[in-house]
Symmetry: C2
Subunit: 158 residues, 2 copies
């Protein structure tokens, strides 16, 4: 497991200060009920979101998701919903349905409009290739969602 | 618990032959993996869906839903989705999210359109006042959903 000993995010990565990552940090610190991360740096808190191919190799192909990875999946969709809400000007609600085996579906809804619709699989290996990839995925998802709200405001406002 | 000894549905109730109830029976028999209901009449299989005020009095106000009631909630939304699909001509997908305490949300989605959006609470007491009330609730829900699909076909077809 030596690939987990080294952090995948630099302490001073400029992406950590982008609005989406600030929101993600807020989400992660919100579920830190025992203050485990009180002393942790931002890059350390977000580090488990990064799933490099080296790290992936350490994780079995088939496995049940644990509480930590479920918290990260929740934080990710909460973060997306918050960003969509900011961008689209309407309340966005995340909605995750997962089986114990880590398969399921995640939605973000705005009124009666589904602005994010993802199939979830192999959730025990949830993560992003790099911090860059994570930010890019978030930006693309939010942009598509805000466009959907603009295009179908009659449904988003129902 | 004597109120459960007497069935709340008559063996020859004409509503049992309506398309929605036929679908509900199909759903219930589909989850009967051990053949418990092989010999049961239709009115006996649907009987637990009826929650008269007398029956309600036998159930604690606060309680965790058991597997049987969760199967009935699933069957109900599967049945609605099947009826909406028939009426609206597009694939409808049910989506239930429940906490262990029996609170949550149930959706039926068609494309990117949410055609049913229910808040779930006190699921351990899930049921309908009578078979009439159940059919009426289904008909109203399906009619509203089909109308939404007609009004917003651009989103339903996404």
């Amino acid at each position: 497991m030596s690939d987990w000993d080294e952090l995948a995010i630099e302490k001073d990565d400029a992406l950590l200060a982008t609005p989406f990552m600030v929101e993600m940090l807020r989400q992660m610190r919100a579920v830190d009920r025992y203050g485990i991360w009180d002393q942790a740096g931002d890059h350390e808190i977000l580090d488990p979101f990064i799933m490099t191919s080296e790290r992936k190799r350490c994780i079995p192909v088939v496995g049940d998701p644990d509480e930590d990875v479920l918290a990260r999946v929740s934080a990710w969709y909460n973060g997306l919903a918050a960003a969509i809400e900011r961008g689209g000007g309407r309340m966005a609600v995340p909605f995750i349905h997962l089986s114990h085996e880590g398969f399921g579906r995640a939605l973000v809804t705005v009124g009666r409009l589904i602005v994010v619709d993802n199939t979830l699989r192999d959730v025990h290996r949830f993560g992003f290739r790099s911090l860059d990839a994570m930010v890019e995925e978030a930006n693309n998802t939010v942009a598509r969602a805000v466009q959907l709200i603009t295009d179908h405001d009659d449904v988003a406002s129902l």
